[in-house]
């Protein structure tokens, strides 16, 4: 397996070692060790759920510093349609696009344009019927990565076409090279990211070796500066070339409804996405043609790097698109040019062992240990559940007395004072600090 890049990271200083993130992680990729959360790299899918839930803001997304723009002679911004839902009283998308120009970009290429191209290409592909149905959208990188680690039999159902961000990056750079005569390396294409999963998908795309997108800025970080620039725009230049279809990709259901004729399902939010994937794996949704899944509630408007509540943002996008034409972009290129080069391969990171007999022996031990633990799933040991602790013990990553109840039992039966245990000290130190205040 290649070295995994992640855009979700931990700020150790801020981490309190609480149980919020470990309980929320869909792939059980976080453990608290020595009072700090640790991300298990192979399992992390960069969904950003831990960033959303961390009360201490210890989980962060890694993105490019805005100054990285200066590395390029010609700079292009790729705003996602989710950005349009972030502004109060906005009635024209061009204010946003002109604001980006005022911020220092030479050009803006709307990702919603590429979304319309992809919708067109998908519609064409769906007519051919020579692929596994139902087709699962590959636009949400966290969904694709979730399938890759947890749903082996669904890997072949994933739509093997580039996502709008990658298509937009390529179109933008190609057109700019023709227009300006500048070389590939002199043009910088930057995505305004609503979530960390998209940033990971730039650094380490799936299905293709590399992307034409050079980097990503956080939507939340550039937001105040963008609002400032937008307020200075008096008469916006007409830049936007997106229709209802492209702009609707901002929220859940936008991509699926753009297919027009197909029977579809659109689900959003991590729990719902997992439930639908389970149903698909059980072949209980075979009557459907297309499945749109977004791990964030509401779709991309719910990304952890957005500002506005997803429902408010979605309502605003609905208002903005009201008087737009249906679609302004078609896909005129060769299908091959937007197809993935590599198949999506299952990576068995949850597997206990490569050897099935060894795995079975470990499983027996896990089952036995789980039955003997309290079943409270309190998370105090640093694992998300008693079963996860049992797995960690059997795989040599934890000890039985990491369970505070086991520890208490052991101590009291041996007549030992457990106040010197590092976890107990954490509690007593904290208590002393609080009472001293």
């Amino acid at each position: 397996m290649s070295l995994l890049y992640h855009s979700v990271t931990l700020d150790s200083d801020k981490c309190m070692g609480c149980t919020n993130c470990i309980k929320r992680c869909p792939t059980e990729a976080i453990r608290v060790r020595d009072g700090k959360a640790r991300i298990i790299n192979e399992r992390c899918i960069d969904c950003g759920e831990c960033i959303r839930v961390c009360p201490h803001h210890a989980k962060r997304a890694i993105y490019d510093d805005f100054s990285r723009m200066n590395d390029f002679a010609y700079k292009i911004a790729l705003p996602p349609p989710a950005l349009y839902g972030q502004f109060n009283n906005l009635d024209d998308i061009d204010y946003v696009l002109n604001g980006l120009i005022a911020m220092g970009f030479d050009e803006v290429y709307e990702v919603s344009r590429a979304a319309e191209m992809l919708s067109d290409a998908t519609r064409r592909m769906m007519k051919e019927q020579n692929f596994k149905k139902p087709v699962i959208s590959s636009a949400c990188p966290a969904v694709v990565r979730l399938i890759r680690v947890k749903f082996p039999s669904l890997c072949d159902n994933v739509l093997s076409l580039l996502s709008p961000m990658h298509i937009a990056g390529r179109q933008a750079k190609k057109e700019a090279m023709e227009k300006t005569g500048l070389a590939f390396d002199q043009i910088g294409v930057f995505f305004i990211a609503p979530c960390p999963a998209k940033i990971t998908d730039i650094r380490q795309p799936l299905g293709v070796e590399k992307t034409w997108v050079d980097g990503a800025f956080s939507l939340a970080e550039i937001y105040p500066r963008l609002v400032d620039c937008m307020n200075k725009v008096k008469e916006p230049m007409p830049i936007s070339k997106s229709g209802i279809i492209g702009v609707s990709w901002a929220g859940s259901g936008g991509e699926a409804s753009a297919l027009i004729r197909e029977q579809y399902l659109a689900a959003d939010g991590m729990e719902n996405v997992m439930a639908v994937l389970e149903e698909l794996e059980g072949e209980r949704l075979s009557e459907l043609d297309f499945i749109e899944l977004n791990v964030c509630q509401g779709g991309c408007v719910g990304g952890v790097l957005t500002i506005e509540n997803p429902f408010v943002a979605k309502a605003r996008v609905q208002r903005l698109r009201k008087y737009l034409p249906v679609s302004l972009n078609r896909f005129n290129g060769k299908m091959e040019s937007i197809k993935w080069r590599e198949k999506l391969e299952y990576i068995g990171v949850m597997k206990l062992s490569e050897d099935i007999s060894e795995a079975m022996r470990m499983m027996e031990e896990i089952e036995r240990l789980t039955d003997n633990l309290t079943g409270l799933d309190c998370g105090s040991c640093g694992a998300p559940s008693c079963r996860a602790l049992a797995e960690d013990i059997v795989t040599g990553k934890a000890r039985l007395n990491d369970c505070v109840f086991v520890l208490r039992q052991e101590a009291s039966s041996a007549g030992i004072d457990i106040s010197s245990d590092p976890r107990m000290r954490l509690i007593t130190d904290h208590y002393e600090k609080e009472t001293a205040k």
């Binding site: 039999s153 059980g282 299952y346 597997k351 490569e354 099935i356 079975m360 499983m363």
Partner: protein, 143 residues
């Protein structure tokens, strides 16, 4: 190699939890590194049998035996039994009540699907006593 044996009690008349046992078995097999085709077939076959038990027999008991090269499942209930097993095996034949069909079940594909996805199946049913279904799925991967 000793098989892993797990027993599950399937509650009757409870659609909100129907499918939980097969879900657990699926998760366990994935963790064991079973080949994905076998996992898929086992999960679907067991799910169908589990749902049948909930609809027709007020629940029952499922026993799963996991061997390195195969999984054997036995689902036993004390329900009304099947009068004509051959007829019940036909696609589209169902005796599920209307309220169950309203939930999207009872399409008459349960037993045919079990047959389709398993490498062997046996039904023993006595009217008034209950039904026992045995299923075998061979794993492609051995080591």
């Amino acid at each position: 190699m000793q098989p892993i044996i797990k027993t599950y009690v399937i509650p009757g008349d409870d659609f909100t939890h129907a499918g939980e046992a097969s879900g657990k078995v699926k998760a366990m097999l994935k963790q064991l590194g079973y080949d994905s085709d076998a996992v898929r077939r086992i999960a679907i076959a067991m799910y169908e049998a589990e749902i049948n038990m909930v609809i027709h027999a007020d629940g029952g008991k499922a026993t799963v035996e996991i061997h390195p090269d195969r999984v054997e499942l036995t689902l036993q209930d004390s329900g009304p039994g099947i009068e004509d097993v051959e007829l019940a095996m036909q696609e589209g034949y169902s005796t599920a009540p209307d309220e169950v069909r309203a939930l999207g079940f009872g399409a008459g594909m349960g037993l045919p699907n079990i047959k389709k996805y398993t490498d062997d199946m046996k039904i023993e049913s006595i009217v008034g006593t209950g039904t026992k279904i045995y299923m075998l799925v061979k794993a492609g991967k051995t080591s």
